[in-house]
Structure formats: C-alpha cells, structure tokens
Symmetry: D2
C-alpha cells in the first residue's frame, strides 16, 4: 500500500462515516428509535451498529490500549454474529430508548477518532488485514446507508401524519423509452469477481464458468403504467400467474398493489421519501416482491432473468444511473433509447436463488457469517437502486432478500428464452 492509497483510505473512511450522519440530518430525535417490523431497524441502531463493526473487527483486535466506549454495546449492537457473542433480539431493537441519540453520536466520534489512529499505524505487521477489514467496514456501512433510507421510508409510512423526509425533485421525463429486446447468444461465460481486483464481497467469488442458453433481456425496467395493466387485467385475483407461496401471501395479506401504493378518489398515489405523490406511470414499478415480479412476468409470457444473464449484459454498461448520488431517492423514467437502468432505480429480482458459487469459500472467522449463512430461501437481486451509493455498486454485486420482501426499492426487468 502506497502513501497515496493510505491517504485515500483515510479520506474514504472519513467521507463514508460522515455520509451516514448526513443522511440522518433531516430526522427528529424521535425518528431515530422506531422499528416498524423486524426487518426494519431504528436509524440510531444503524448508526451504532456500523460503529460496532469497526470497534469489533478492527479496534479491539488491532489497536493497542483501545478503550471500549461502553461494554454493553458489544451485545446491544451486534446484529447476528454468533461467533462474536450474544446479541439483542432483532425484533426488540425499537424498544431501546437508551443509549440516546446523543450518546450514539458520541460513540461514533469515539470510534472515528480511534480508527484514524489505527489507520495511521501503517507499519503494523497486521496493516494489510486492517486495510482489508476497513474496506469491508466501509462497504458494510454503505449497505446500512441504503437501509437507513429504506427503513426511514417504512417508518414514515406507518405514521398517519405522513412525515416527509426531504422535498424531492420530480425530474423532467414524462414519457417512457420504448422497450426493445437485447439478444445474447448462448455459450460458456465467466461470471463473478476476480480475487485480485476491485473490492468484492466473498459471495461474488470465485469467478467461474457458467453455461447459458441464448436469451433476450429487456432494455429497460417495467414501468408503473405497465404494471397497472397487469392489475387491471385482474393480476392479483388470478392464481394462474402466481407461485404457490406467493398466492398464499396475496390472500392472507390481501395484497392488491405494490407496497406504498395508495388509492384515493379512484386515483393511485405513492408514498415516497418526499411525501405522497401521484403515481408516475413512466417510472419503474418499485416495492414489489419476487412473487409479484414473477406473476407479472408470467402474465406477459416472459420470465425473470437469471443472475448470470443479467451480469454478462450489465457488465458491458457503464456504472451510471439513478443512484443515490443523483439525489432523486425515487425511481425515475428511462429516457435513454438503449440498454438502460441496469444500475440504480430499483434492485432487479432475478430468478436465481442466493447460493454459493462453485468453489466458494466464506471468509474465515466471524466475518464469514457476513454472507454465507444466509444462503437459503433467499433470492438474488442485481443492480442497485436509487438509494444505493454510486461507488458501492458493480456488475458482480449480489444482493439478496426473501421472495416476499417488499420494503426495498425492488423492481422488474423481463427476459425470455430464444427458442
């Protein structure tokens, strides 16, 4: 590692840590503590847990004389690392009024200061491992930044006062780009991340061969307007389109539209981080579960892409799009007449289960729990969303949620076989 690289890490650390706090600037103290459902964590928990990550995996093992901020935090802010020790029950994160928001910001300061000391110790024999873990910690924090925004949206959605996180720009696009089908010939491809390259999570490795049949993939995402046609065609009332597990949820949860859609006076509205606004028919549909994505695709006689199919097409595109840095914090219509929206707007459901790549080895120790233990019953999503930081996403990135989850910005890109 060169001096420049070290300075750059130092700077990136400071920036990412600051970003989390900037995201929370619009919040009232009371907003920091709410947990609406077990999947959602209180904003202050995110702020504390990301600090706990640096404290646990870097400061405690590597910084001599490091003084723990509060001995209870090891338990309180461990998310799920069984090998680290006990952790507070996930569903009870919203029951903790203490530590206060002020104390948690002090905790962040404490951790930041110590981390800068540690990052300056470039002559330590463990320095390469310190750098490696620090980079993981920063990516980890960026993931939680995304969760901060999706969770705040969910928290506000439970409040009849309809709080607004921030005024949002509506953009200027009032049409939908035509959809065309990109064809990709079959054959053996390599997917996944190289061991020696840019940062990647262990679940993106190793790079490996897959055989793919020829296929077509849609040039852009499915729009709200297109999804409304499915609804008008009775999509939520016809089991023929649905996976069996999905149909059970439709019936027991009485799903009739994507999450956050609200019908008022015969008109559809949508709750956004900028408040309730009229549904934009040109914008990509969002906050749908895999079950809804699958049913929609079925209704169209199409299918969802496999994750390998998505990756080999997406990696030919530049990593730009409606990501968090664009500032919309809401999916926007595609105005580009080409392959569009692969990065940003919404996470795209694939038909691929989240499972280990051939030759996969989880990281050693507790950090190995980061990804590997979740490899059952979840589904891969690709491409990032309008609340994903630009420098966090890449073509090989594998996000994963349960097929019924809807509180993320998750949407639909279609594919089909060439026969």
């Amino acid at each position: 590692m060169t001096v420049d690289q070290a300075a750059s890490l130092h700077q990136e650390f400071t920036q990412v840590r600051k970003d989390s706090e900037t995201l929370c600037a619009p919040l009232e103290i009371e907003d920091y503590g709410i947990q609406t459902i077990p999947d959602v964590s209180p904003p202050k928990w995110h702020l504390a847990h990301t600090s706990w990550f640096f404290e646990t995996f870097l400061l405690k093992p590597f910084l001599k004389h490091y003084h723990e901020f509060d001995e209870h935090y090891a338990h309180l802010f461990n998310s799920y690392y069984e090998q680290i020790g006990t952790y507070h029950p996930r569903a009870e994160r919203g029951l903790l009024s203490r530590p206060t928001v002020k104390q948690i910001y002090a905790y962040r300061q404490h951790v930041n200061a110590a981390m800068l000391v540690l990052l300056a110790q470039e002559t330590l024999p463990d320095y390469p491992e310190i750098v490696r873990r620090c980079i993981i910690g920063l990516h980890h924090e960026q993931q939680h930044q995304e969760l901060l925004l999706t969770d705040i949206k969910h928290i506000f959605s439970y409040n009849p006062l309809r709080p607004v996180y921030r005024e949002l720009s509506m953009g200027n696009t009032n049409h939908t780009a035509d959809l065309f089908w990109h064809e990709q010939p079959g054959g053996v491809y390599e997917i996944g991340a190289d061991a020696a390259g840019h940062f990647a999570y262990d679940n993106e490795t190793p790079r490996h061969k897959v055989y793919l049949n020829s296929f077509r993939i849609a040039s852009r995402l499915v729009t709200n307007g297109e999804y409304l046609e499915f609804m008008h065609a009775g999509g939520y009332y016809n089991p023929a389109y649905w996976l069996s597990d999905g149909w059970k949820i439709v019936q027991t949860q009485h799903w009739q539209a994507p999450l956050y859609w609200v019908k008022q006076d015969m008109q559809w509205y949508e709750m956004t981080l900028g408040g309730v606004r009229k549904l934009d028919a040109h914008a990509p549909v969002s906050h749908v579960s895999l079950y809804e994505a699958h049913a929609y695709a079925n209704w169209c006689n199409k299918r969802l892409p496999r994750e390998a199919e998505w990756e080999i097409v997406a990696r030919q595109q530049p990593i730009t799009g409606n990501l968090r840095d664009a500032g919309y914090l809401q999916p926007m219509p595609a105005d580009l007449q080409g392959l569009a929206q692969f990065y940003g707007d919404v996470w795209e459901w694939t038909q691929s289960s989240y499972s280990p790549y051939p030759g996969y080895r989880a990281d050693s120790g507790a950090l190995g729990e980061y990804n590997s233990k979740f490899m059952s019953s979840q589904v891969v999503l690709r491409g990032g969303s309008c609340v994903t930081p630009q420098n966090h996403i890449r073509a090989t990135y594998r996000n994963f949620f349960y097929p019924g989850d809807r509180w993320q910005f998750s949407g639909i890109r279609l594919a089909e076989d060439i026969t």
Copy 2:
C-alpha cells in the same frame, strides 16, 4: 358552585396537569416513545391522550370558537372510545415518532390555555356539566399518571442498560410488623359510593346492600420474605395450588418468580424505579398476577378477600399510607402494629370479578365507555399503590386488570372464612 369552588377547580386543574409533566421531567426525549407490550403506552402518548380527553369532552362541545390543535390527533390519541370515532391501533402506539415530544408539550399548552378560558365561563348554562366532566378529566389524568410510572418501569426493564428513573430512598424499616387477623361479623352491609358525595366513577355506584358471612382479614400485606417461602416450597412447580388458566401461563411463560425479580449469584434482586436493588424481605410482594396471589393463598390454606369484605374494613381506616406523595415509588415494609397498608404500597387482588353493581347505570354517551365495557374477564383490585396520588384513592375505588397482568404494583392480602 361558589366562587371558591370555581377557583379551587381552576387550581386543581393547573396542579394535576402540571403533575403529569413533572413526572416526565427525568425522561430523555427517546424514553417518551417506547411501547414494550400492548398494555404499556409510550409516555408521550399518555401526555397527549389526557389532553385529547379535555379537548374531546370539553373544549369541542363547549368552548365557542375553539380551534383544534391538529385534526389528526382526534384519531391518534383516542384510546378506545368507539362512539367518538376511529382510533390508532393500541399495539402501534410505539411506532409513532411524530408528533414529537415538543409538539405534544405544545398541544398540552394549547389545551390548558383553552381549558382555563372555558373554566372561567361560569355563567354558561352547561357549566355544571363542564365542571362534572372536568373533574372526571382530572381523575382520568391521575390514572394516567399512575400508568406513566408503571409503564416507565416496564420500559426501563426491557433495556439491558438498566436505566434509573430517579434515586429512591430505602426507608428505615428493617423488620415486618406481626400479622394478626381482623374479625368481621357477618350480616347485611352497604357498599359502594353515594350518588351525592365525593367524586366517584360510575362503576362504584350505586351504593347497595350485600350479605356477607363472617370473615377474617389479614392486618397487613404478604411480604417478599413470605412469598419466598412459597417459592422455596416449590410453589411454581406444583399445579395443586393453581387455577387452571394460571398454571398454563406458568408453564408457557416459564414464570418462576414475580415480575422484575432477578436472581444473581444465588441472591434475589428486584428492578425498581430507582434501579436494581437487593430484594427487601420485609416489603410487600409486588408485581404478582391474580394467579400467583391465588396460588399463594391456596398454599397457606387462606383465600383472597372479596371486594365487599375489603371495603367494609378499609373504610374504617384513614386514607394514608405509602402513596405516590410519600415519594418512595416502591412498596415499603409495614411498621404499624395495627390494620395497615390498606391504602398505598400495592393494589390488592380480590377474588371478585369486575362486574356491575346492582342497579348500575353507565354514564351516558361516549363517556359511558370509560368503565362499563370492560366488565368481563377482569378482576377487581383495591387500595391504590405507591404510585397512586393520595387524593385519587378512596375506599370504594375499583381498579381492574386481567388475572394474568403483572406490570402494575399488585400484591396480596389474605382473608379466611370463620366457620
């Protein structure tokens, strides 16, 4: 109503309203929003709901040109009055970060100012009804003051940081007064509240005759030390002492001691509003359910008193004791060698179901929902506790909870038949 009476009501209104806020003074903003279980409400909800009560039952119907503080509050802070309109689901009170604590204090100010205007309009034809409802509103607020303290205790108990509400005095009594049995001859007695007398809730009326057999009642409450003997005798493991519904809870909830008892290093501790402290064997046992009270009494070959039995003995005692005004906020040992602890310390479980007195008529309109609709499956408790305001309790007062409830300061006084 004389000028003096009006001035006194004015003053009492101001005092009671201020008391609620004084009780919240030790809280952090974050503490105001927590709801641990559906029974418990967030402190800020109590502050708002008690204001809603005055706004709904007094300001809106009687104060000309009254300007509602926020139109959403009618829904948000209605507890359960079906005839008033919709209400926010009880179990979701802790999911509301907004209105903020600051806004709720402003709401209180707004309601207080308007109420003082209304109370000054003594020439209104409705003034007697205004006074009547205002008095109910103040008693209502005092009930919520008690809940504020019991709910804060519960909220803090869920936090591994073990927050302390306030440093509490331990008192000087380190012995238990001897227990003796007060005998009361059988016959026809009158119980309940007179229509024309001091304030009473509708559920205490009408005054009516009951026939009682001769009985004995214990001179003081059961102590922690006595309850420990029951535990050491295997009380929580022997179904013979238990009501069937209670035994089911013992097994499914794994009850092994009263709520808030914690065993550390072979020693019992108790969580209090002043933090965790060593169990005082001389203090009355508290935070037991009816099922535990019943099982304990069974084990002693005694029984719980009927509410009429309790009332005819208690009304001979002065209304003094370890009530909120004493400042202990925790049950204290009896040092008096006579009939003791009828008021204060802990609410005393009776064996009487909460049901209407002969000739009972609920208040008319929505206020009739205050008490009458809860007259099933609940049990009467008598005498107030260490967090009940002194001027709120009386011999005829009927409190009621479900037999499995334990988060109130609830304890045991024994009785027996004379045969």
Copy 3:
C-alpha cells in the same frame, strides 16, 4: 345404604353407561376420532375418559386385584387431573387413531364388569366413599353425554357433506308465547345446595345467604325472531352494545350471526343435529356467546340475570322442559303462557362470573380439581339444554364456559332492575 339403594345404584350405573353408547349408535367408526377445535373432544375420547374416571377413582383404589385394561390409558384418557399424573395434550386428542373404537368399547366392558363387582361389595369399610364417588362418576358421565352431542354437532358442522346425526321431529308449535315480566322483591335469600340432600357438585355448596335488590325476569327465552331484529338493527356493527373483549372478537372472527346460522338465497338456515333446516323464528336463539347475549340485552335496555336471581325464581318451577329425554335435541318454541323454559332448551347465560360461594371448600384430593381450578374468567350458565339428561339438572346447578364460547346450546333470558 339399604339393599334397595344399592340395587338402584347398580341399575343407574348400568343405565348411564349404556346411555353413552346409545348416543353413539348413529356414528360411523370414522366419526369417533375427530377433534375440530381444542374445546371439542372426539366421541371415542369421551367414551374412554368416562371409563378412565371409574377406573382411576374407584377400581384402582378400591377393587382388590383389579387388573388395569391398558397401562397407557392412565395417560391417554386423563383429561386434566394434575395430581393423578401426566395427560395427553388436549389439542391432540384427535391425532390418536389407536386405541380403536372396538378397543374402547372393550375397555368400557372391562370397566363395567369390574365396577359391578365393586358395587356388590357392600360390606367394605370404604363402601360409603365408593358410593359417593360412583355417583360423581355417573354425573360426570352425564356431563360427557351432553358434550358428546354438542361435539358431534360441531364435528359435523365442519364437514361440507353436512352429515345428519338423526332425523329430528320439528314439533308443532308455530307461535311464540307472549313474554311477561316476573317480579321478585328484594331481600336476603338463601341459594346453593344443602350439604345433606340430593346430589350436588361441590361448586353448588354451601347453601348461603345473598342480598338481592328487587328485579324482574323474563317469562321465557329470547327467540330467533327477536334476535334477528337485533341483527337487522345493525347489532353486529355497533360497538356501543358490546363489551370491549367481545367487540374485538366480532371484528377478528367476523361474527355476524350465532354459530351454525347459514344464509342462503337471502334466507337464514340453521345447522342442527337433524341437518340444515330453515331457521324457526319462534324457537329460542342458541349458540350465542356471552358477548352476544350481553349485546342483545344492552340493545333492549335490559340486562342478563345474576345467577342468584335465576335460581330463586327457577327453583319454584318443576324440573321439566325440552331436555334430552324429550328427544328434540334442538331448542323449541315456548307454548306455555307462564314462567317457561327455565329447564332445557338452552343454557342461560348469567352475568355472574364463575367463582366460589362463601365458605366453599373443594373436594379433597384430585377430585378437588373437578370444579375449583376453573374459577377464573368463566361465566355461569343455568338451566340445562335440549341435550341435558332430565335427571342431571337442578335449580342449583352451575355450568360454566368462557364468555366467547358458542359451541354449547347457550341462549338468553332477560332481566331488569326495579327502580
């Protein structure tokens, strides 16, 4: 005990035991094993459990050289006697295909034969206790005979094939007797069963004084036609009439009519043991919960009777009515122009919680669990129903169910205060 008494007990034993089997004669083998809800037991379980009762409380303790039929039955057919030993989980009674129906009938034979031997040993020093327990066992079996019929009705109601237990007579009464109000002056009354008299359960004792205000009680039961008026007036949609706990059930269980009512082609039908038939407007409403009974009474500006009120009026009536022996197995219209329907037709909900009488002592040993441990959260019903054996019911008899229970033949008689 005289020779005649002994002969009579012998004869009664034989008769009651035979009755249980006669009631099961219309069943297919498959019907014997079904448990629809935890409250309902499979018919074969009733047949076995009543035998287990004699085996456990009589044969094992008193019959020398008694040979247990099957050692597993002690566990399988114990209902809830904690002091006897373990018992099979109540909710899993329907999961036992073995023992077969044939084996259970053999078990009954085995127990019957041994019991007749025991009952012939009149010179045993324990003979009085044997007689006492045998009589309890016979009343116990009669209670289960009633449950057999209510449970079979429930079991058949879950089957889309709508099985018929037996063709039932419709009776000849196609009008409703006029309702008048019987007045009873207030004062001290004695209620409950004498220690030395006819058989009574321990929960009916001791006879004791109560003070009652003057009241009026309806001369007959509320009819289906009258209850329909409540429904047409929006009774199931107006929370003002309902107890709070009841209103929650109305909403979560979507109650809109009594259990077993079915609407077809704008017409109400009722499921009966004789199959589905048109609702008889003149017959008493049945299969309502306490909550529905209370809401109906509230809507009428009446109330439910206290159990003492019911008893002092009912005991002046002869014990006749539409009981099981009448053979209708369905409530029938009152044609009598006087105090009517106190016995039979439907169990009448009172407003009295099921609690111990003053001076109550539970039976000793495990038999004490028969009644006493259920004295919380349940409500007293009086008078027997159309499936209660004639010689099983009496004025002092206290039946008890939870306020939400509806699978028994339970109905409504109104009362009111005289003011």
Copy 4:
C-alpha cells in the same frame, strides 16, 4: 400406440391402483383419517385424491356419459389446482370423518371401472392425450404411495401406543462400506430428460447444458454412526455450522437429533414403520432437514452436491437399491464397495434450489400447476428412498421439499470441490 402398449397401460393402471390399496391393508379404519401436521394427509385422503385425479383430468373431459361419483368430491379431493375450482383447506383434511373409508374404496372402484372403459377406447381422436394423462396419473399415484408410507410413519409417531405398520426385516449387514471419493472432471455436461424418451415430469425438461467445475462425490451416504459423531461434537449447539434460518429452527424447535430418534436409558432408538428399534450405526442417517445436512457437511469441511453433479454420476449407475420393492421400508447399510446407494434408502439433499431449467415450459392448463408453481424456497432432493417404487425413480427425477422438512426419508451424501 400398439395393441401391446395399450394392454400394458391397462395392466399398469390396474397394478398401480391396486398397490395403493395393498399399502393400506395393515391399517385400521381409524388410521385412515388422521392428519398430524398440514404436510401430512390422512391415508384415505390419498386414496381419494389419486382417484379424483383420474376423474378430473381423464373421465370428466374424455369419457362420454361419465357419471360423477359424488359432486362434493370435486372440492373435497382437489389438492391445490386453482384452475380446477375450490378446494378444501389443506390443514383441515383430518377433520373429515365422511366420506367413510368404505365410501372411498367404492369411489376407487367406480373410477377404476370407468378408467378401464376409457382406456379401451383406443380409436378416440384424443387417445394419445388420454394415454399421456393416464401415465401422469399413475406416476402421480406412485408419488402418493410414497407419501402414504411417510405419512403413516408420522401418524404413528404421534401416538404414545407406538403402533407398528408391519414387522420389518433387519437385514444382515452389520458394517459400513468404506467411503471413497469419486472424481469427476469439469466441463460442459447435459442434464435433464429428453422430450422424447421415457416418461419424465415437465420439471425434468428440457435436457440442457450446464458447466460444472471438477468435483468429488462420496461413494455412499452418511451413516447414523457418522452423524452421531457430529452430535457428540456439539453440532446442534454450535451456530458456526448452520445456515441462519436453520439455526433459528434449532433453537425454537429444540432440535437435538434427527426426527424419530428417541433417547432411552442413554441409548439412541429410532422409530420405524416396524416399531421402535435400536439405532443402526451402519445405516444411512435419515429424516434430517436440509439445515442439518448442511450443518453436518460444514462440520466435515465438505458440502452437499449440486443436483447436476449428482445426476451425471448417478446416471452411470443401474437403478437398483433399497427401494420400496426391496421391502425393508427403512434405510439399510451400504455393503457394496463401489458407488452405492444412489437410488433408494433416502432422498439426498442437494444444495440446488428447486427452479426451472433453461427453456422450461410448464404443462398447459391446470396440469401445469403440478410442478411449476412450487419453484420457490424449496430445495431439490435426488435418488428416491426406501419407500419409492422401483419403476418410479430415475436419474433425472427432481423431488423438492422445504429446507426445514424432515418427515420424508431424507439423508446426506457429501461432495467437495477439486481445487
């Protein structure tokens, strides 16, 4: 179709239909109706549903003048075909005493007779489709034959009387064959079933290319003895080996051993269709969930095979093994010193999620619901078990269950990467 083929189908129909009844021969009438958990169906339901399949998909559409046996059966015995009409709730199959066992056998007779008439109409234009569906119906019935045995085992396991289905032979093998690792070089392989070949379900098609890395696969299944080592090493107490979802179940369901294992006097026993017997350390471990299989493999530093890996090795083996026809009805030790146990003994968990093959098209119409709608959250198992009919299994066969399911005969074969 030749005359011979038609005769052979006729014969096969008769044989398969008879087999279902032969499997039920050891049952008492009472056994036919039990449903222990929603996954398990009552034996009589299996007998009726398999007949409903022929009636619905063959007799009603194709047999002129076919007279439905009972119009209610269309609803009662539809399992989950949404496009066919309504169906009885799955969890309530055990609440139906009617139709009786006798009526269901009559239903089978009725359907059989009509089917033989239909199969004789070889000149019908639809005859090829009739043949196609009939073959599906027979394979469908064989699947239910397997379920009959696994469900009977589960039903008997809930009964403290420990019923025995049939006396079972113990076999003669009292050792475990050595385990060796079969190596398979990487490359592009074809897997799946040919469209034109032997019968296969739609989910096995189309035959398609996959790329596989080099790997090793174990020559035989993991034994009870080997699995015991994992248990002794604390496998059920160490979260490090477990998938996150699995660890939650271990804790909430208190899993400590495979299903049906019972510890008595410090010794492990196993419930089998032949009764409780001492655990055979040499026999393959069975009745483990995917979570347990995964944890075991993790503990060994191995992994589960992918379904494609399994298939390309297994298809080189003859389809023989401990299948139903061998009569053991219980997994048996491997005595073969080569690649062993690929067919029979236990279904082998793979690490592959159950998802559509590239180019997959579900069957058209309601029959398309047979397999396709279950392609989420389930996992593929391969190879058949000791209760699978010999002529039902093949190398391409894909069975699927949820990762927590344990009531099937499911076990473990290990694999590893070659690196």
